[in-house]
Amino acid sequence: MNRTRGALARTGQYLALVCYLVFLAFPLFWLLSTALKSPQELGSVDPSWLPRHPSLDSFSAAFEQQPLARSALNSLIVAGCAAAVSVAVAVPAAYAMVRYRSPVSKAATGWILVSQMFPFVLVIIPLFMVLKGFHLINSLTGLVLVYVVWNLPFALWMLQGYVRAVPASLEEAAAIDGCGRFRTLVSVVFPLLTPGLVATVMFSFVTAWNEFFFALVLLKSPEKQTMSVILTHFIGAEGAADLGPLAAAAVMATLPSLLFFALLQRRLVSGIMSGAVKG
């Protein structure tokens, strides 16, 4: 009886999981399906789930019309650098804020919260002026700096939680075993922070990869524009859109994020610290 109930519960769980996966995957599936359809099929009043005559024409048109490969490379550079710098700055900062409690760390925590309340439209013009003063308009470096500043508060906030979860007793044990502060950080704390680092890198990367408005305003040269900006070039006035190539370009824009997530997701596995401290 119990076994039957257990099997039913498990089936229900799997069913719910499958529904959730379908819910998550459907937009991607529809995007891909749209990208593979012909203009006539896209204009049909009875849309089909799968393309009746799959074709890569929309992909070739998208690559022909806009510099997709170059913009993808730009996005990769900007998002990669922004993620790396954000984490490089956030890790020691988060560690210091958690381990060294002081009025400064409290003020910094307050500042993180306050900084999340500013909508970007409020800062864009002053930011533009500052970057112009440093000759960083129309520069990928300037955009990376903006993304680092934009991502940093949330990255710090995320990492603080992970640092707090690392038992201080582990560091004390390392100190008793003769580790210096730096060695303790590198050999004990950072490995335990891996899931947090991965989550923060992914957050920073995806945020920078998807960001549109800063990139639109700060980058002027076509050869420097990022993927999110290039996507809008398939849309005209009053909502008219070149739907096939737009969908194809959107598929191309989605792939790197998916790939990045696929590569890093196993590092997110939690429970890495289970059993580290007894008693």
């Binding site: 203009p39 006539q40 896209l42 204009g43 049909s44 009043v45 009875d46 849309p47 048109a61 022909e64 019309q65 806009q66 909508p119 439209v121 409020l122 864009i124 013009i125 002053p126 533009f128 002026m129 500052v130 112009k132 003063g133 308009i137 549109f212 408005f213 639109l216 305003v217 002027k220 040269s221 076509p222 524009q225 900006v229 809008t232 070039h233 398939f234 849309i235 005209g236 006035a237 009053e238 909502g239 008219a240 859109a241 070149d242 739907l243």
Partner: protein, 435 residues
């Protein structure tokens, strides 16, 4: 639009706090004294981008280093915010492709150069006064209107012929009453006579008011005021009647954008779709094999000026940033881009109607194919949209007119409630901008 307001406020705040002093010595315009001039183009269709790039290359080949132009690809989405930030930051493109509707605030803000002293006589002469009116605000000319987009009817030829209705021409369009009759004839079974796509209802409702002698925006005592009298509301009422009383217009289409109506059009659910002229490109591209369509002029009002065929438009323009130091070079580039042959090529690439007299006569455009001749023939009936140059129009459009018209078309409010909202709330907004 909320973001636009925000940005405007932010811009003002930045200026007020002295942030503009940061700009001192930062130079002006992206080109400065040397280096290429930046040309921000909003072309988005493949053919149009190709023509723009080819013309820039041609210009660069024929001109010295000091007059080189760099093609910068912009996007219609967010162009206002992008430009405002660039203007405030002192790094705006030198030559700007935009829409006349978007120029009002920039012209009043002093961001755009007044072109009156720069325009070559040949260019001035080539474009009709009615078109120059579309880019003239506050006593200046702030853009060269070069492409325009009328509203047309795109009809299913087979259904139209079957109905036995007269096929209208630019010389003899349907009257609005005749159009209502034809829509009744065409409504059979699951087929609606017409599908009004009203996701963005304001511009078309205002611009079509000209056909019945209305304008919605009127000048009284040197100020802009909103009225919604019989002539202003005639077309709006007609659409409402077709949806709710005659049931000759599909109610489900009211929430659609123009391109959303095309699948239903191809499937024979809608016999006629009123759309912007450039939508012909999508129709041509997406229509199933064997589907025949025809481009017709919008119906005309009776007893209205211009035989009831006048229609408001907001043309695409080329402007020069006030900060640009090489305004004459920028103007020479604009004159090059708007030479008759070039203007016609740009129009062809974007499926739009050129403004230039000679460009309208270009053989490449004068063909019956894809409805080109219909668009070219109604070009002389196009006038400045009543909304052009009206400060506060974007706010009225977003906060008042769009929701009010959508409610009215959807049947939620009456005509008098619509009038109250458009006029009373609207005039309060306009008054703030005209103190």
């Amino acid at each position: 639009m909320r973001r636009r307001d925000f940005l405007t406020t932010t811009a003002a705040a930045a200026a007020a706090t002295g942030a503009t002093t940061l700009l001192g010595g930062c130079g002006s315009g992206s080109g400065g004294d040397s280096g290429p001039l930046d040309y921000l183009s909003l072309a988005w269709q493949k053919e149009s981008i190709e023509v723009n790039k080819a013309l820039v290359a041609e210009w660069n080949k024929a001109n010295p280093r000091s007059a080189q132009v760099r093609y910068v690809q912009g996007s219609w989405d967010n162009v206002h915010d992008q430009l405002l930030t660039s203007f405030e930051g002192g790094a705006a493109p030198d030559v700007i492709h935009d829409e006349a509707n978007d120029l009002t605030d920039f012209a009043h803000g002093g961001y755009l150069a007044d072109l009156r002293g720069l325009l070559p006589a040949s260019l001035k002469k080539q474009i009709p006064d009615a078109s120059w009116d579309m880019a003239s605000f506050a006593g200046g000319v702030y853009g060269v209107p070069f492409l325009q987009e009328p509203r047309v009817l795109i009809a299913n030829r087979e259904l139209l012929e079957k109905s036995g209705a007269r096929t209208p021409t630019a010389q003899h369009p349907w009257s609005w009453a005749e159009f209502e009759d034809v829509a009744r004839e065409l409504t059979r079974g699951r087929t609606y006579g017409v599908a009004w796509s009203m996701k963005e209802p304001v511009n078309q409702s205002v611009n079509l008011a000209l056909t019945t002698g209305g304008a919605v925006f009127h000048r009284e005592g040197g100020k802009n005021v909103i009225r919604f009298d019989r002539a202003d509301s005639h077309v709006v009422e007609l659409i409402h009647r077709q949806v709710h009383k005659d049931r000759t217009a599909a109610r489900s289409a009211l929430g659609m954008a123009g391109s959303d109506t095309l699948p239903g059009f191809f499937a024979g659910r809608y016999a006629i779709v009123p759309l912007n002229f450039s939508f012909r490109q999508q129709v041509e591209q997406q229509a199933p094999d064997g589907f025949e369509w025809v481009t017709l002029p919008m119906p005309a009002g009776s007893g209205a000026p211009g035989g009831g065929q006048l229609q408001g438009v907001s043309p695409q323009t080329l402007s020069i940033s006030q900060d640009t130091k090489r305004k004459k070079t920028a103007m020479a580039f604009i004159a090059f881009m708007t030479r008759p042959r070039h203007m016609a090529r740009l129009a062809e690439g974007d499926w739009l109607v050129p403004t230039g007299r000679d460009a309208l006569r270009e053989p490449a455009l004068n063909t019956a194919e894809h409805g080109w001749s219909t668009g070219l023939r109604i070009a002389s009936d196009l006038r400045a949209s009543p909304v052009l140059g009206v400060r506060g129009y974007p706010e009225w459009k977003d906060k008042v007119a769009t929701p009010a018209l959508q409610e009215y078309y959807g049947g939620s409010i009456s005509l008098s409630a619509l009038r109250d909202k458009l006029v009373e709330d609207g005039n309060r907004i306009l008054a703030r901008y005209q103190r």
